[in-house]
């Protein structure tokens, strides 16, 4: 059988920091599907770039071993020729859009194949139809939801009809419904004989892809060491207990660009709770966090009641993109930025617990994505906002180990009487919260304890969310 991709003891090191992947050996026969499952920073994206020729043609570093694409050495073919045989869908679809309409985005890749206008038209229509993008054809890619953008990215790659399709964490930014839809398309492609190489943390979504093989990178693959497990002795945490309070949200309505994103939200949360906000892309999860942080003008009432009386809520907010917040020359300076009397015991605990001690003097912007996220979390926690912390997609791109570290850290806050609210697509993480807020297109669909909500079969379709079996291991009923 023809081999779509063959790697023989291939290793690659980026010149900047010497990190990379390998040595890795693997063979992917044409027509098969392979899942690369590896820890955060384990080199999955590097391997995806290698399979598509971006390494070594765009990324210059130290490449060893032999990488063959359909029997031809990748390093000796021009990049445009490789791109005709291997298509790549990146992790963040919003960052790979090049034009101002869905049609133009697909046409861009087809023009580069040198096709006649009639053939471009045929393939454009086929790609739009295949992925259900026809109603969106004139829309600007940046105005689409995350799920729609990822479908468009897939359509752009598929329209070029590559022999090998490489997907680099295609599900990481999608809600469960969009992720299920995308996997449905992958299943159809697989049935049609498309060769697939998928790098993905959210493996559970891919479980029903028939014949999907899973591979782990040889030698652990990870060139970057993963964070050490927290010292059990320090697990208690030095955070002082806060006085009891409750957060009341009444008739909360927020608009962006004249459109109501949040409508009449009503709920009450108690201190010491870990709360997960669930909902499809675009239902206002981030807007709710911004409103709670005082960054989003909103109508309605937001108040914290305690023995001292009623005050405005005061939370720290950790953004989805850590690059928005980090700018200092060292992790230490970043975390202690403008804190006149920092709690150094808490600082040390955070460094140790989040696996950042070894990077204390390193520039935050040179760390991996996962590490940057943990630095951004540490900067927010270090400020010890009186009511707690808000997190936007904290588990994005994090493997199980780092998710466990995150959860333990958040539990420290709740044990100290703080309120932790996180917006997430990660149903596994949400299942471990004390309280769920489920948002739909018309506002709050439900709120309550996970165990109660999971039993409500009608709830999840109302929120437009697909609830897979594995998300709720203790569930007796399966709504969808």
């Amino acid at each position: 059988m023809t081999e779509a991709l063959r790697l023989d003891a291939v290793s690659f090191r980026y010149p900047r920091d010497g990190l990379g992947v390998g040595p890795v050996s693997l063979a992917l026969p044409a027509g098969e599907a392979l899942l690369l499952a590896e820890a955060s920073g384990g080199g999955k994206s590097t391997l995806a770039r290698l399979a598509c020729g971006l390494i070594p043609h765009l990324y210059h570093g130290e490449l060893r071993g032999e990488a063959l694409l359909f029997g031809q050495p990748i390093s000796r073919q021009p990049l445009w020729a490789i791109s005709e045989r291997a298509g790549l869908v990146f992790q963040n679809p919003a960052m790979q859009m090049l034009t101002t309409s869905v049609e133009d985005e697909i046409i861009f890749g087809l023009e580069n194949l040198g096709l006649s206008p009639a053939e471009v038209r045929r393939r454009l229509e086929a790609a739009l139809q295949c992925l259900g993008l026809e109603p969106l054809r004139q829309r600007g890619p940046q105005t689409l939801s995350g799920g729609e953008q990822q479908k468009l990215a897939l359509a752009c790659a598929l329209a070029r009809r590559p022999d090998l399709l490489v997907l680099d964490e295609p599900l990481s930014m999608l809600d469960s419904t969009a992720a299920r839809d995308l996997v449905g398309h992958l299943r159809e492609l697989q049935a049609a004989g498309q060769t697939l190489l998928i790098c993905e943390h959210r493996r559970e979504f891919l479980a029903d892809l028939p014949g999907l093989r899973t591979a782990r990178l040889a030698n652990g693959g990870a060139a970057r060491p993963t964070a050490p497990a927290p010292d059990p002795g320090s697990a208690a945490g030095p955070l002082a207990a806060a006085e009891a309070f409750s957060l009341t949200v009444q008739s909360l309505t927020a608009r962006r660009g004249g459109r109501a994103i949040l409508r009449d939200l009503e709920f009450t949360l108690a201190a010491g709770q870990l709360v997960a906000v669930l909902g499809r892309n675009g239902t206002g999860k981030t807007t709710l966090l911004r409103a709670l942080a005082g960054l989003q003008p909103a109508e309605g009432r937001l108040a914290v009641q305690s023995a001292a009386g009623e005050t405005a809520p005061r939370f720290s907010l950790v953004f989805q993109n850590p690059d928005l917040q980090l700018f200092q020359a060292s992790v230490r300076a970043e975390i202690l930025f403008r804190l006149p009397q920092p709690d150094l015991a808490w600082y040390e605990w955070l460094l140790n617990h989040l696996g950042l001690k070894r990077y204390e003097e390193a520039p935050p912007l040179l760390l991996s994505e996962g590490e940057k996220r943990r630095v951004a979390l540490a900067t927010a926690l270090m400020r010890q906002a009186p009511h707690g912390v808000l997190l936007d997609e904290p588990s994005l791109g994090q493997d199980a180990h780092h998710k466990a570290v995150l959860l333990r850290t958040l539990r420290q806050l709740t044990h100290a009487g703080r309120l932790v609210i996180m917006a997430t697509h990660d149903l596994e993480l949400a299942a471990q919260a004390d309280m769920l807020l489920v948002l739909g297109a018309n506002g709050l669909v439900a709120h309550g304890r996970p165990a109660e909500l999971m039993a409500e079969a009608a709830l999840w379709p109302r929120a437009g969310l697909w609830l897979p079996d594995w998300a709720w291991p203790a569930a007796e009923t399966r709504p969808c």
């Binding site: 021009p78 101002t100 690059d323 928005l324 700018f327």
Partner: protein, 258 residues
């Protein structure tokens, strides 16, 4: 029928989109008759208007009158008005400074020239997509890779605006707020780092991601064949003729004009 030779769109295509198309901080006005004009024509009109700023005040006034008629015909008065409103402080400042330093005539001339250039900018970018601009630049013999890079950069400007806002929010969440007053000048200078470093990082990352995405779809292919091509229509000839004749009269009209 002489028109832009776009391959026919199926009936389902149209203005069913929720999100408006924006680029170069500009909204695309699909209803304008100038949308049907060749982008090269619009570039030529823009160039002509740029030359007109050299006219003396009375003739500049005449040109502006013709230009306003063109804008009204193109249904772009609100769009151009919006742009002029954004530039009101610059225009006002120019007028006041020139009035104070030299006199009312120069103040009016300079202000009208800047207003004209602002309006030309709005007229072009309200009716031309990045793809059309790229085709026009290619037709003017600019290599594809530069034409594409230029249009991509222009199309990304509105995204940069959004990112800057996101950075401001993210830093505000950390307690970094733009200060006010001279006493906070030193602190403001320090805070500038908090805004500029993320801005540089995000811009660099966006540029790199776009590069990766473009090359992953065969950006450097020697076989590239444009899907659309440009052709001048009657509308283009009419616009070029009227504007060219108008400019010629204004520049060389001699004693028949003020």
């Amino acid at each position: 029928m002489l028109k832009l030779r776009w391959p026919a769109r199926p009936p389902s295509a149209g203005k069913s989109h929720r999100g408006e198309t924006r680029w170069f901080t500009q909204r695309l006005v699909e209803t304008s008759p100038l949308r049907a004009a060749d982008p090269r024509t619009k570039l030529a009109l823009a160039l002509g208007a740029s030359l007109a700023v050299m006219l003396p005040l009375p003739r500049l006034g005449l040109f502006l009158a013709g230009y306003v008629l063109l804008v009204a015909w193109a249904r772009l008065l609100p769009e151009v008005g919006r742009h002029l409103w954004r530039a009101r402080w610059v225009l006002g400042l120019l007028f006041v400074v020139d009035f104070w330093l030299v006199g009312p005539e120069l103040a009016l001339t300079i202000s009208l020239r800047v207003a004209l250039l602002t309006g030309v900018f709005a007229l072009f970018f309200s009716t031309t997509t990045p793809r059309e601009l790229g085709l026009a630049l290619e037709a003017l013999r600019l290599p594809y890779r530069y034409a594409f890079s230029l249009t991509l950069a222009l199309a990304s400007l509105s995204l940069l605006e959004e990112e800057w806002q996101a950075i401001r929010e993210a830093q505000a969440a950390r307690g970094v707020q733009p200060g006010r007053g001279l006493r906070e000048l030193w602190r403001q200078a320090g805070d500038l780092v908090a805004f500029t470093v993320p801005a540089i990082v995000l811009t660099t990352r966006r540029a790199w991601n776009a590069t990766e995405a473009a090359y992953a779809r065969g950006f450097d292919s020697p076989h590239r064949r444009p899907y659309q091509s440009l052709r001048l229509s009657r509308l283009d000839y009419a616009l070029l003729g009227v504007c060219g004749a108008g400019l010629a009269v204004l520049f060389w009209g001699g004693r028949f004009l003020p």
